[in-house]
């Protein structure tokens, strides 16, 4: 009899514990959904053709946010132009060339640590090196290079993993018919690793689009009379615009602020979703062959 009540109370404690686990999961999931719904519902009122295609006026209270959208796309482009080739080459080095020695271990450790450096510290780095030492000034170029340094850890890691996932036999087959090491990498390994590399690149772009602290330090502007015409021009950017209208401009219309948040979130999350789609499609293809 005692054993049966013991079993029953153990069943009850299991139910209670499960209840806690489910509650914890709900605490994570529900706010995410609430945030997204709020931003979409309130922000949607602000979205119009003018909002997306006009320059702001009256300190952001009227007009649109086109220069900020354009600036963010320039930043994403600038970041990936630098971070992707370097990341792929470094990934090739780590997976194909590096031997297991202290140098390789140091490189790997450096990558792990770069991924953990706070974004504001990258901002200080960009300010000290690109803005002041290289005299690029407060410009798109400085900001792109700063964000590229920050994205480096991600592009290297994803490239390395994608290249390592290519089966050994592919390389051996290529080397056996007389290709050199680089030919094998160029024509066999990299094409196979491409979906993984692209996934990492798209994620890095999404990250660059949302990053605020570094560009706050190296020269985003809240308002500019014209669009940037060269990499040495100052620029506006969506996340910095959101920060300023939300925290610094009194009497800002609510819908405009939520509208800016919606556009930023849409840009960032659409790139995230794109990365997921690429990953899932390439996985499906690999299983079907």
């Amino acid at each position: 009899m005692t054993t049966r009540t013991g079993a029953a109370s153990r069943q009850i404690s299991q139910q209670v514990a499960y209840g806690f686990l489910i509650a914890a999961t709900a605490v994570v999931v529900i706010p995410v959904l609430v945030i997204i719904i709020q931003i979409v519902v309130i922000g949607a009122d602000a979205i119009s053709c003018d909002f997306l295609s006009q320059a702001p006026s009256q300190a952001g209270k009227a007009g649109g946010i086109f220069p900020a959208i354009l600036g963010t796309f320039y930043l994403m482009l600038g970041t990936i132009i630098v971070a992707l080739p370097v990341g792929v080459l470094a990934g090739v080095y780590l997976s194909e060339y590096a031997r297991d020695n202290w140098l390789t271990r140091t490189v790997n450790m450096a990558i792990v640590n770069l991924a953990g450096v706070p974004s504001i510290v990258y901002g200080l780095f960009g300010l000290g090196v690109f803005v002041l030492m290289f005299h690029f000034g407060m410009s798109l170029l400085s900001a792109s290079l700063t964000l590229a340094c920050q994205a480096l850890a991600m592009t290297v890691t994803t490239s390395r993993e994608a290249i390592l996932a290519v089966p050994r036999e592919y390389r051996e087959g290529s080397l056996a018919v007389g290709s050199t090491r680089w030919q094998t990498i160029r024509h066999i390994v990299l094409p196979q690793a491409m979906p993984g590399i692209i996934t990492g690149a798209v994620l890095a772009m999404s990250r660059a689009a949302g990053e605020t602290a570094p560009i706050l330090v190296v020269g985003a502007a809240f308002f500019l009379p014209g669009l940037p015409h060269s990499p040495f021009d100052q620029f506006m950017a969506l996340p910095y615009h959101l920060y300023t209208v939300a925290a610094h401009i009194p009497g800002m219309s609510r819908t405009t602020i939520w509208g800016v948040a919606l556009v930023l979130l849409a840009v960032v999350l659409s790139f995230n979703v794109l990365a997921t789609i690429i990953r899932l499609r390439s996985r499906k293809r690999r299983y079907s062959t």
Binding site: Q14, T25, Y93, C149, S206, G210, Y240, A261
Partner: protein, 300 residues
Amino acid sequence: MPAGGLARRWRLGEKFIESWIYLAGLLAIVVLLGIIILLIKEGVPIFLDTPPWEFFFGTKWYPVSEPPTFGIMPFFVATLWVTVIATAISVPVGVACAAYLSEVAPNSIRETVKPIVELLAGFPSVVMGFIGLMLLSPLVQSAFNLNTGLSGLTAGIMLAFMSLPIIISVSEDALRAVPDEFRQASYALGATKWETIWHVCIPAALSGITAAVMLGVGRAIGETMTVLMVAGGALAVPVSPTDPMMPMTAAIASGIGNAVRGGLQYQALFAIGLILFVLTLFVNLVADRVLERQKRKFQR
């Protein structure tokens, strides 16, 4: 068969590209060293003006008064507050969520919850700051009857959310790495599923969960925009979590725009950057070590 000259040209081209590969491989070290050297070069000279003791333990940050004083105690305590609050919330919730996803949840729920958690990981920090400003701070203000909803507590809650994705995914991986034999042995002894999770799975995955917690802490220490927007930005040493405060990252972000290049305030802000860098470096190194050990633990 290519002619000899052509083959040599190929080989030259190959040497060329391979030298780029080596250079790119070393770039990560160059950037990391560059960050360290720059922070030291720009930040350490502040100690010629303000002795380290006064810098670390001084409670007054008056960069523009005459003479200026640079004490970072308010920022350091603020960072401590928000990190502790964030960790206290995110660790139990995150580990419970990971345990649910890896041990209990049916497949369909797991496949719905995981993308939502990934979505959260993709939220830019400025959007989280904005949400804290708009949605959370009024709640905190009325719940605790405060003058302002912008406080360390508000920032800590937002930071907890931002550390959750990494805590959940790393803890879940750690729990999944626990071999199934462990669970079966536990069931064979008559343990319920929950007893197995609590007494077998979580202890076996503990080092991985520790690493997850460290990574979450590192995230919370280094997060900038959210704390800049919702922590309140007060310069006094915060005594209560509901005080407005300014963590170290926010101090750099809000001060660097006005600092004269090479001036004392500029140096002081780089010195704060150096401290942040060292803190996060330490946390990440430990997390990496622990993860490596966890990976080896169940390899046979």
